[in-house]
């Protein structure tokens, strides 16, 4: 059995229909569990005080903002190379989710930055590249809506996705490229000295899992909707011709 079998809309609907209830329950449990643990049962940080609780939203949202674009890049490349419609529709389905996560990262970052840095916004490399990534998400969604032919829309949005990947990567590594920004380096590291303390790390890990599972759940729901919408359009077109 090959992975490409899932590119068949019928097979995708069958498999995603089976997976969806379990993934949804896990996503809900991890999100709720992680946020309750982080908000109610972790101490204040000695430097940042209670604002450290924003980490449980800001870091997973920022991670998923970039990862969603990477997922869109992979599925767009599959569309360009192999012309599987499900992969193009999965990229389309992921865009509003990625845009929402980027917006959450920007909003929570501003709310966290004000008391810590004394400003809501700074044209810092990471913040700026994140704002550009958000604009790319908006442009990507607008392009899908603007083009009537779905295959042409998939082609052009795939090109936009490849171009936007530069900013997705830049938003991840901007802090390493330029040192003059306000934003600190990665909060999460395999190096124990650099990583956040365990008391924050474990609930954060649950929240990250929750955000990943929420992303998977919503991508499955939205891709299924796009497949149905495509079939609906085909049936209506056939009706008009009859």
């Amino acid at each position: 059995m090959s992975i490409w079998e899932y590119a068949n809309p019928k097979k995708f609907m069958q498999t995603s229909g089976m997976l969806l209830p379990g993934v949804t329950v896990l996503a809900f449990a991890a999100m709720l569990g992680g946020l309750i643990w982080g908000f109610f049962f972790t101490p204040d940080d000695y430097k940042q005080g209670a604002t450290v609780k924003i980490i449980y939203l800001h870091v997973p949202a920022a991670m998923m903002a970039i990862n969603a674009w990477v997922m869109m890049l992979v599925t767009s490349l599959i569309w360009v190379v192999r012309r599987h419609h499900v992969s193009a529709l999965a990229a389309k389905a992921a865009a509003p989710i990625g845009a929402t996560f980027t917006l959450i990262a920007l909003v929570t970052g501003a709310l966290w930055g004000q008391p810590m840095w004394g400003t809501w916004w700074e044209w810092d490399p990471r913040l700026t590249s994140f704002l550009i990534l958000f604009l790319f998400y908006l442009g990507y969604m607008a392009l899908w809506e603007a083009i009537e032919n779905p295959d042409t829309a998939a082609d052009l949005t795939a090109v936009l996705c490849i171009v936007g990947s530069v900013f997705a990567l830049l938003s991840r590594y901007a802090v390493n490229f330029w040192n003059q920004g306000l934003h600190q380096g990665a909060s999460l590291s395999l190096d124990k000295e650099e990583n956040v303390s365990d008391v924050y790390w474990f609930p954060l890990l649950v929240c990250i899992t929750g955000f990943v599972l929420l992303f998977v759940t919503l991508v499955l729901i939205r891709t299924r909707t796009e497949i149905r919408a495509r079939r609906l359009q085909a049936l209506l077109a056939r009706e008009r011709l009859a």
Partner: protein, 53 residues
């Protein structure tokens, strides 16, 4: 039960309120569109099934 957030209550609670509102909005919108498309497809399939049969 509710932790004392002190002078940081507004940024912390604001972050949670904004994020939860955005996530719930996205979930609601996704489910609403899913239901709408599913119903429309079922309707067209039933109509075409009838006319074909």
């Amino acid at each position: 039960m509710i932790p004392d957030l002190g002078k940081y209550a507004i940024p912390v609670l604001g972050s949670y309120a904004a994020s939860i509102a955005l996530i719930l909005g996205l979930v609601a919108l996704s489910l609403w569109r899913s239901g709408r498309v599913k119903r429309a497809l079922a309707e067209v399939e039933a109509r075409q099934g009838k006319s074909n049969g």
